[in-house]
Subunit: 347 residues, 2 copies
């Protein structure tokens, strides 16, 4: 089947570019001497996670327990969840997962580690844990090296847990004092720092400088080796994900309407929404729920109803999250249809 | 099962409020003397569509063919799709649907109606069609009364199509000249105007004044009888949809983090993200992909990890679109789990 025979809107993934991004990041991490644990929240597709591991990744990272379940069922065996797992239902699922995958979690409070320990201890299994540091993300994470030490000690004391080190987000130069002091305290007090986890795409070198042993880079699979920041970055040679859309209306000479809007594309709050590959001079200037509004006043091409266009979305990871499947293509031919199995696994 | 026993994040729907909104809009349309054809893109749940029809709606409206298929399979029998159906694959599905549901579509070009007619004529079925007018939405729709007449005539001439009238979006007072002139032209030329379709929530009276015979109001089921425009509108007495979330971190005295972010909630580009029902003085000031960031500096309550909170999202319809199911509750008890069957049916 040819790509243009797909009904629209369809999520399409160029496998050559995807493979190049995967190999490129593997090579960069090798060169830097830092292990790669790709964050799979970007794609949520087990087939891609397997490609990343085959290229040398030491394991994977998930953001929600439900995503980890999907990956474990698909055969991934070294899984970190960088999320506080809270409540007996979720902890029970984590323990169940740990029976067949090597699980690791992050935590930032006694309440979280005590909840996990309680069930892990009873089940006779061991969950690996990293202490999460808030190194400027102002999200989760302990607030000081002293708090990190206290939580690390608590983890050491509790049954069913195995302290492995620390996790930092984000990996910025300004995080160095916090990180250094925590590592010193851990060292002085005999706490392990086997794993020092940093992230993400574009921060690999800084993570290495900070002393991280692994990077949780994720968006590189859809964005290449640095983050997308402007419309010029939306280049088919580095961005494998696109949406095949159809022109459903040409109401005026200046405007066409395509069959994907806010429920097909996810943009950051600011323009641009994406790049129309065949007509870079066209500007997607707005989106209603199911329609994309395109200004074609700068195009010489005369658009017609029924014409199909490839749109590279401005925010590939969030766009992918709106869809149930993606067509993997090579040289214009559909090679695979992959289910986005982790989509919607918010629990 | 009690609501607070649901694992989080969970989409929750207060059935008493939902029913009140459904009855309220039915009563308002009765009073105005305008038929109600609810737009189901807001909820995408066949069970709710049936409740709307039972309350007097003349049929339903869908925005995509895939949504209409879901509704038809669930027994809905009068379905309008306010979308240009383009391409042989989609037209084939429309014809198939027309074998067991009474289908109506809108169109704004010869290309669209010719594509539908081609297959409908061959199949020996009849598809009802409305001419869509662009009355200020600057999206789809013909641009002038003369264009509406020309397209109406084309529809009359083509086999397999039955012209029913016109559709306008949006229903604003400024649309009156366009609408009046189109109706006059249709009348003078013997074209039918059995259906004059307007929309949506909050515009019922204007639609009636404009001469519309039906209103495609949709968001009222989650927002009440007028649109949500500010945080103060997020009132549990009118907004039945909420997200049950868990506090997963209390990193500082001023900040808590809940287990839902951009993949659980969909906000308009501007704040606020939603209202925490139990603590209205708390402010959700940011969202990362899977975390909600809440400023609790204005709260006397001391939050703890594991605590569950109800959040009314600022954009209920778009939030619902991120989830696979919703728990229908009454008096704190879970009464039903409904699949959001139309979610992801972008084709």
């Amino acid at each position: 089947m040819k790509v243009h025979d797909l009904d629209t809107p369809a999520l399409v993934l160029d496998l050559d570019v995807l493979e190049r991004n995967i190999q490129g990041m593997a090579a960069r991490c090798d060169e830097l001497g830092i292990a790669l644990r790709p964050h799979t929240k970007t794609h949520k597709i087990p087939e891609i996670a397997h490609m990343q591991v085959a290229a040398g990744a030491r394991g994977i990272n998930c953001q929600k327990l439900g995503e980890a379940e999907v990956m474990a069922r698909a055969g991934l065996r070294d899984i970190m969840i960088t999320y506080n797992i809270v409540g007996p239902t979720k902890v029970g699922r984590l323990i169940e997962l740990a029976r067949w995958a090597n699980m690791m979690v992050t935590a930032d409070s006694d309440a979280v580690v005590e909840g996990i320990s309680h069930q892990a201890g009873h089940a006779g299994c061991t969950i690996r844990v990293l202490v999460e540091l808030d190194t400027g993300g102002q999200r989760t994470g302990v607030q000081s090296p002293q708090d990190a030490l206290a939580l690390g000690r608590r983890i050491m004391d509790l049954p069913g847990l195995s302290l492995q080190g620390i996790m930092t987000y984000p990996s910025m130069t300004r995080a160095k004092p916090f990180l250094d002091e925590t590592l010193a305290l851990f060292g002085e007090n005999g706490l392990p720092t086997n794993i020092i986890s940093g992230g993400g795409t574009g921060h690999e070198a800084i993570s290495k400088e900070l002393g991280c042993t692994e990077t949780r880079s994720g968006s590189y699979i859809y964005e290449g080796l640095s983050r997308i920041s402007k419309r010029e970055d939306l280049d088919p040679a580095r961005c494998p994900l696109s949406v095949l859309a159809t022109v459903v209306s040409v109401p005026t000479a200046d405007r066409i309407i395509i069959d994907g809007g806010q429920k097909t594309f996810r943009a950051r709050p600011t323009n641009p929404y994406g790049l129309i590959v065949e007509h870079p001079e066209a500007v997607i200037y707005g989106m209603s729920v199911e329609h994309g509004h395109v200004d074609v006043s700068g195009c010489n091409h005369r658009f017609r109803v029924g014409e199909k266009l490839s749109v590279i979305p401005q925010h590939a990871g969030m766009t992918s999250n709106l869809h149930d499947e993606v067509a993997g293509v090579r040289d214009g031919q559909v090679e695979a249809i992959w289910a986005i199995r982790g989509r919607g696994r918010v629990r």
